[in-house]
């Protein structure tokens, strides 16, 4: 099972952060950047943000909403929620294996 996230290339990590940010409701560009910085400490630049957003939009994982003046909010789609859940499950598996392995290696 090839992870669909792998196809995003250098935008895989920003995409995960953006989907996570949108998981609790629609946000516009700068609000996403501020939210991502707050919950992950990752300082995302505008070029990266819109590069990732455009790819997420093309895949149907986020959807643009009506713009209010220059600000356009984005919301996560059902497909985006599904891919986010899948990715989080994979990460949980990695964490679980890492915990098991480190516990076995160090006798913790």
């Amino acid at each position: 099972m090839h992870g669909k996230f792998d196809d995003l290339g250098r935008f895989a990590d920003p995409s995960l952060l953006i989907l996570t940010s949108l998981a609790d409701g629609p946000k516009h560009g700068y609000a996403i950047m501020a939210d991502v910085a707050a919950f992950s400490g990752v300082s995302m630049e505008p070029g990266t943000l819109y590069g990732a957003l455009s790819r997420l939009e093309r895949r149907g994982w986020v959807r643009p909403l009506a713009a209010a003046e220059r600000r356009r909010p984005y919301e996560i789609t059902a497909a985006g929620q599904e891919i986010l859940t899948e990715q989080v499950t994979t990460m949980q598996q990695i964490v679980q294996v890492a915990r098991l392995r480190t516990a076995m290696a160090w006798g913790a």
Partner: protein, 441 residues
Amino acid sequence: MRTGQAGRLSRALVGCHPRRWRERYRKEMLDVLDQHQASARTVLNLAVSVLSTHVDPAYHTEALSLPRLRRAALISAVIAAPLALILGPIGYGIWQDDHWHPAADEGLVSAAFSAHAAILVTAFGVTLDGMDMVWDVTDLSRPRRLSQFEGGQPTTLSPDGRIVATVDFSHPVLWNVANPRHPARIATLPADAGGLRGQEFSPDGQILATAYYDQVLLWDVTSPARPRLLRTLDAPATSPPGSAGLLFSPQDIAFSPDGSILASATGTDQVTLWNVADPARAYRIADIDDPGAFAQGFAFSPSGNLLSVLYSGGTVLVYSLADPARPARTATVTGLLVRAKFPDGQSQPDEVLCATCIWTGEAVAFSPDGHTLTVIVNRTEMSASSGRDTIFDWPVTGSGTLGTATVTARDAADSQPFIAPSDRTVLGSPSKYHWRTWPLP
């Protein structure tokens, strides 16, 4: 770069994106820039965005505007040149750090052969994410290295030599090595907390069997980029996880030569035979009795009527599969661990006698004519960085009984030996990133 300059340059760069991009995102990006404190990083980031959107086919439908491209290239070059001077050496340092690998000083740990193609994939080092190398072994004594990649331990190559399955942090991963100079990762299969025990392609290359702690999965890999799960075979563990001596062994799962039977090692010591003639309806046909040790390797005889199982305590059992549902043990050999001596001549596996002596690896195989069963045990004296392979050869009768063993030994390095299929050649590793071959007697 001052904030004001960075802000102005950033805004100019937003205008350098392709027309369709600007129509869609320009206003939003300018709004973000109004709120964002632009820096040299912002400028560089937007310059990369400009270049990547210009080569992105999705924004490429307009006629290329040369003046615009020229302006974007000029701005990018003016920004990139001084940054490259600073970031280049830093980036090179980071790249070197990234590509340093703990396996760099260690010996051969894994080798995957192809049944019909002159390709070999090896890994060095004991880490799970080992450094893999692809070799042209048209002449096994004079291998040519074609490429290398960081993909985990290679465990099995498809018979046509086009796909290699590796273990990367417990995940089975498929790599396309059809072009062996440019391996490409094509699929990742699920990991299991109990660990992956082994994986093997069927003789026709259409099925990949992956063995986990308490189950075996059969995957249809006729389209290797989209493996399809055909069957989950449960092998409930009879003892709790964590008590296994070794989590992974390269020979823990094997198909019979005609592909109809699969032998797997799961749990801590369970050996099971499965009927996989119809993989989607595969079923358990027999459990092999347990000598109380961890199964380390399987070898089917070329005709498929015999199965040899090598256990970690130095025990070899041979079974006749005349009736696969009732495997009949035809030979039992124990004590190989004691008979295989360390380089200094000591024979006891007792750590009191030699605290730095370890049992590095072992291999089991039938000869291509099926008349000889070979087991190689490597014992290593770590402080002297020397090792010794002891080779046990037994004549095998058609019914599966073993004659008297011929025992030979040769100095070797501290490495896992591998016996090349369809050949009487052994691979070992004398030093880092090197392996050598030697012929079996």
